[in-house]
């Protein structure tokens, strides 16, 4: 049919600009990154890049486990005991970890079945970056979902000023991420000039101010706190939209059948909300896995996320090959998460 052919031709014409743009801004750089990840290319380097196979990937991901032999006291023939801590002494990790052909550095040590082991990596910072990112993602997305559901349920009930409430919820979402990082940086300030230390001090909970952003155990939780503040409202709005699509008759019918409030929540609200929550969860997880702004602005090089590691490798170390390999690894990790979600939730088309 002539009309059909014309329609098809028009469709291709309309699609062409978008496809060309995507080809240039996404597909070409993606191919470039994939190719470069197998080379030792250095940005603005004088010599030509060499093809080095999987070396970049090995350098980023290689880990090894070595047993730490006990240090034997020459006089007694038994294992030395540290005089201060009273703990048995083992060989130092740096002496056990392989140095040839590649140097491994200590990631962590652990005990198993009475022996002491060291976990070493060629690039401990990247392995830690993966750990930091996963920790950040899992905890923040979990908290955002629970809090988002809670806020959505509260806002969903009838009350005056509901529109105003919904507007308020958009405020944190509208704040630029870098700006929210700096706002919270000041609230986290390490003296009582900072809001949190002032508060903790006022309630007599601390003797000395806590340097939230430099203390290792507080660093990632601080990032999580900022992310939860900024994205919970978004999550709540998506869940709210799902809530409003649930027909009221279902609740009426359940009430007539004598179902209590909690029962109604678990048998009606939650199952019918599942698609909305699922989509929000997928979006947030894939977003959290590429977290960059918070880590780069607040922690710089003291603690990396996968994305900020990539950035510093590229801009500060000018190591394009390694940075590209990092990009590919991030891509694969996010891809795996996407597949797991699709499988778990059975996302319908």
């Amino acid at each position: 049919m002539d009309l059909q052919k014309r329609e098809r031709r028009l469709a291709y014409k309309l699609m062409a600009p978008a496809m060309v743009v995507l080809l240039v801004v996404a597909l070409y750089p993606l191919g470039h990154v994939f190719y470069t990840s197998f080379t030792d290319r250095v940005f603005a380097g004088a010599r030509d890049a060499q093809f080095i196979g999987l070396e970049n990937y090995h350098r980023l991901l290689a880990v090894t486990v070595e047993e730490l032999p006990p240090v034997i006291d020459e006089e007694t023939g038994e294992q030395q005991i540290d005089e201060e801590t009273g703990k048995p002494v083992y060989e130092r990790p740096i002496r056990v970890l392989p140095r040839q052909p590649h140097a491994y550095r200590e990631l962590t040590t652990f005990s198993l079945f009475g022996s002491r082991y060291v976990l070493g990596a060629r690039t401990p910072n990247f392995i830690r970056a993966i750990g930091n990112t996963l920790y950040f993602t899992i905890v923040s997305v979990f908290l955002e979902t629970v809090l988002g559901l809670l806020i959505a349920l509260v806002v969903n009930s009838e009350f005056k000023g509901r529109g105003l409430m919904r507007a308020t919820m958009l405020v944190p979402w509208a704040v630029i991420t870098v700006v929210s990082a700096r706002m919270w940086e000041w609230m986290f300030a390490s003296s009582r000039a900072g809001f949190f230390n002032m508060l903790l001090d006022r309630f007599g909970l601390i003797d000395r101010s806590i340097p939230f952003l430099t203390l290792r155990s507080f660093q990632v939780p601080a990032m999580i706190a900022i992310d939860v503040w900024k994205t919970t409202p978004f999550m709540a709005l998506l869940i709210l939209a799902g809530l409003q699509m649930i027909p009221q008759e279902l609740y009426e019918a359940a009430r007539v059948d004598g179902a209590g409030k909690i029962r109604r929540f678990f048998t009606i609200t939650l199952p019918l909300l599942k698609p909305a929550i699922a989509v929000a969860l997928v979006f947030r997880t894939l977003d959290a896995l590429r977290v960059f702004d918070l880590f780069q602005v607040l922690l710089a090089r003291s603690r990396y996320s996968m994305a900020s590691f990539n950035y510093y490798e590229l801009v500060a170390n000018r190591n394009m090959g390694l940075s590209s390999a990092t990009g590919v690894i991030i891509f694969i990790i996010i891809f795996i998460f996407a597949i797991i979600y699709m499988q778990m939730l059975g996302v319908e088309e």
Partner: protein, 288 residues
């Protein structure tokens, strides 16, 4: 829910919960405003004060110097200008290219449509950081200039987003409109241009606003590409790298004043368009 006469305890608990949520959402922003109105010495008063107070007399005394300074400093004003240019052009480009594609995807029949839809959807979740090194190599090699380079690279997230959201709007338009236009002898392109486009104007505004906010927010590309060209820094980069006139000292008051200045217009826009935005966000996400 709120009914003091019948259920006083429940109502009070409910209002309390609302209050907690509102304070949680707004307090950090309040704290930034409060701190941006303090002088250096007021900022480092311990314990911190809930409003700007005079260090000696403890009277309420706001200080506007931080706001005056940032508008006198070249880096912030230049950042604002760069951000407006980059975000506006990236949005307009994405809207024009994306709307054409969205019309085809939403209303026309052609081979490869499903595949194209999947590609667009996958692209909306594409991790930008993956291609950072590749884009950096291309942009530094092309004689394009940093700002056009940024605009172009921002299409990687604005284009799939606008295409996806506009497709769902086109899909929702009744097919009868197109059919009656065809009966009247209009070509598909005329139908698109004269009938469907005006109908989707509200959707275009929403979609454009959301794309604009994404571009306004963007940090990793801007930071990387302006590393060699500080004059092209956008607002997020300027705020992240804010330096005071005195070296080695972090001008927190000015940073927070800048933070407030860039947030207020976006918040106002968002509040004006709040209903549309919620619709747009849910169209972008839920219908995915």
């Amino acid at each position: 829910m709120v009914n003091f006469r019948e259920r006083p305890v429940k109502s009070i608990l409910f209002l309390l919960m609302l209050a907690v949520i509102i304070v949680y959402l707004l307090f950090p922003f309040y704290w930034a405003i409060n701190s941006s109105l303090k002088t250096e010495s007021q900022l480092f008063m311990t314990p911190a004060t809930m409003i700007p107070r005079d260090p000696v007399t403890l009277e309420f005394r706001p200080y506007w110097g931080n706001y005056i300074h940032i508008f006198q400093s070249g880096q912030f004003v230049r950042g604002l200008r760069n951000s407006v240019i980059v975000a506006t052009l990236a949005t307009l480009l994405a809207l024009s290219v994306g709307t054409f594609a969205a019309f085809a995807l939403g209303k026309l029949r052609f081979r490869g449509k499903t595949a194209s839809l999947y590609i667009i959807l996958a692209m909306t979740m594409f991790p930008q950081v993956t291609i950072l090194a590749g884009l950096y190599a291309i942009i530094t090699r092309l004689p394009l200039g940093t700002i056009p380079g940024m605009i172009f690279s921002y299409l990687i997230f604005t284009l799939p987003f606008t295409t996806w959201v506009m497709t769902s709007f086109f899909k929702d338009l009744p097919i009868e409109i197109m059919q009656s236009a065809q009966v009247d002898g209009a070509t598909p392109f005329q139908t698109f241009y004269k009938i469907l486009l005006p109908l989707t104007a509200p959707a275009l505004v929403t979609c454009g606003l959301l794309a604009f906010i994404q571009a306004w927010n963007e940090y990793i590309f801007a930071l990387t590409f302006t590393a060699i060209d500080p004059g092209a820094r956008t607002v997020p980069v300027a705020i992240a790298l804010f330096t005071g006139e005195a070296a080695m000292q972090e001008p927190m008051g000015e940073t927070l004043a800048a933070a407030v200045v860039v947030t207020v217009p976006v918040v106002v826009l968002v509040l004006i368009f709040q209903n549309r935005i919620v619709e747009g966000l849910t169209a972008g996400a839920v219908k995915g």
